[in-house]
Amino acid sequence: MKLSSHCSRDFLMDRDLFYPKKVFITKDSESLPLTRRILRNLSHLPVEWIQNPQDLIGDIKISRDPVGEGKKHLLITLQKGGFVKPCPCTPRYIGCNYFIINADLNCPLDCSYCILQLYLDNPLITIHANNEKLWNHLDDFLNKSKGRFLRIGTGELGDSLALDHITERSKEFISYFSARSHALFELKTKTVNIKNILGLKPPGNAVIAWSLNSHQMAQMEEMGTPDIHKRLEAARLVSRAGFRVAFHFDPIIHYQGWEEEYAEVIDDMMMCIDPKKIAWISLGSLRFPPALKSVIQKRFPQTKIIYEEFIKGKDGKLRYPKPLRLWLYERIVESLKKAGGRNVPIYFCMESRDVWQEILKIKTRGKKEVERLLTLPLGES
């Protein structure tokens, strides 16, 4: 266990934080409070006011590495569509009835397997500054779902905390959701950008979650992310401050030595965090649309994870054959239980009914049942 080495007061160094090379602001968002706050936090950076983001997006999309190029720039604009959407999950596998808030798009981290490389039409790191609309959409959505416990979060189309030193969104979100106790709000991150979180009073319905991987995979496949020890130390600090935490082992990657290396991270995690403070742990094995493969090949020529054996799943995505997935999950669940996580709710992300039954012994009938299973902590708060 090497966590103590990261416990110093300057645990989160400024150099670890993301700063874009340039900020672009659309004219219609220049006077919004969030824009002004971002500009205060980025006062040292060049800013350009633009009329139409499509020209800028078009220019970046021409480049040799639009994904990499987009990560260098920040766009502040308006969300013209809806802020709240059901998580798209994947067809023909079991979902978890999660809802996503599309406040910010894209992510400065650069994970080789990231679906966003293919999924988003806009490669720029984009902040939607029209918060008034955001709160209205959330009010409408939550009012409609009264009488039901639900899970909602911001970490699907970007990292929830990677821009938090710029936007300070975590403060607003946690304050907003603290008054809405039928929703379990999750911030999902790979970063250690927790300064704002640590200054907040923890409500019972906020969950701060970390995506974890083995040390080797984090180092080789998750470019620009803090190492696993740092992530666990951040989780420990947040948990000690009174927040519930969660962990996502996703994607679990098969490679020589995977079993021991994932078990090591699980042991560290359980030593670091009181299992009672863990709201849930999700598991998902590496999967991606076939078209992402060539993007990964070009952007990460050194990676080998895409050269394992994959089959085309029921949703058309490439995934490990079921016997291999079962083996991965079986061993990881075993490690979790052995390390003290017997009572922590575990769920699968985008897996089939028979995998749930085989590994977790849960005969799930569908996403509503998964939602019920994972919102149980609300009753305890």
């Binding site: 220019d59 999309k61 021409i62 480049s63 040799r64 639009p66 070009k298 020529p301 080998k304 050269y307 054996e309 089959i311 085309k312 799943g313 029921k314 054959p321 079921k322 016997p323 291999l324 079962l326 089939s352 028979d354 085989e358």
Partner: protein, 318 residues
């Protein structure tokens, strides 16, 4: 443009500064020129007392074949090579589609004229029906630099862009080794074999030369009994096994179990694709009530067949 009659030998064929078509079939044009003569004369330009073809290479070679001299040509009065090239590009664009190799040559030539790559991409890739991005420009320029032997194969075998893109990942010497493997195969298998070779090479960190030097592949390559197509097909299968060892082993194990179960020809058992949804299907054919009864009796008997039951295990052997 002035129309003139010039002798065939005063055209400098070595100067290909405006040429982007190298592969064509002259048969139909030969027939047409023989029947009705040359309707559309080629366009030439005068440079340093020489005539250079701007457009009409196919027409020129047809006339050469027929020794049609003097040749009627239009003389283009244009000092700027780029504008002359655009004349050729747009003249062709109005009446035909370009093939993959022509597009590659056009972009190579345009790159010589236009220094601002992004502008080139924005202005000309959509014109050629290519997505307007720099990686596509890079790919087409790479294609234009392939060896002429390969260009001939691409043209004759109508290789897909996806396969040609994979081909550009290999160096000149490697492409030489690939020629006998790719040449006899269908489009789909061409892509699979190239894809498998790249992936095996990257995963195992070994060169193409080493992959092809293995003791499984060498005897196939050296065989005197096998035809080129048989060799390519066999190597295709060997590479699939190398790339997907577990899946191939599971499939073989499943097939072997089925064989051991000695099912009659009329009864078939199939698994879901790579065992993904854990289901198996049994189907049988019949012509009348008597056959129906026989099949059911056979199936009833099979329930106690260990070999068959072993197929339904969760984890396939292998």
């Amino acid at each position: 443009m002035n129309l003139r009659q010039i002798s065939l030998d005063v055209i400098d064929l070595k100067d290909e500064r405006f040429r982007f078509s190298y592969h064509f079939d002259l048969d139909r044009l030969l027939l047409s020129v023989k029947e009705i003569g040359l309707v559309n004369p080629p366009v030439v330009i005068n440079r340093e007392s020489r005539f250079i073809l701007v457009t009409g290479w196919k027409r020129f070679f047809t006339c050469l074949e027929l020794s049609l001299t003097p040749l009627p040509v239009f003389i283009l009065e244009q000092d700027d090579d780029f504008k002359a090239f655009l004349f050729s590009l747009y003249e062709n664009l109005t009446h035909r589609d370009f093939d993959l190799l022509e597009k590659a040559e056009i972009l190579r030539l345009l790159k010589g004229f236009i220094k601002d790559e992004k502008q080139l991409v924005k202005d000309y890739l959509p014109l050629l029906g290519i997505p307007a991005t720099l990686p596509y420009l890079d790919l087409y320029v790479k294609i234009s630099q392939l060896e002429s032997r390969w260009k001939k194969v691409i043209y004759e075998k109508k290789m897909s862009l996806a396969s040609v893109e994979l081909l550009t990942e290999f160096d000149v010497l490697e492409r030489e080794l690939l020629l006998p493997l790719i040449l006899p195969l269908s489009q789909n298998k061409q892509k699979q074999i190239l894809d498998d070779l790249i992936q095996i090479s990257r995963k195992e960190e070994i060169s193409l030369k080493k992959i092809l030097a293995t003791q499984e592949i060498q005897p196939v390559l050296k065989s005197e009994k096998l035809t080129p197509l048989q060799k390519a097909e066999k190597i295709h299968i060997l590479l699939r096994k190398e790339r997907y060892p577990s899946l191939s082993a599971w499939k073989e194990s499943f097939d072997a179990s089925l064989k051991r179960a000695c099912l009659s020809k009329e009864v078939t058992v199939e698994s879901s694709s790579f065992f993904e949804n854990g289901e198996f299907s049994v189907s049988f054919s019949l012509r009348d009530k008597e056959e129906f009864s026989k099949r059911l009796a056979k199936l009833e008997k099979l329930i106690s067949d260990e070999a068959l039951i072993s197929l339904f295990k969760r984890l396939p052997d292998g």
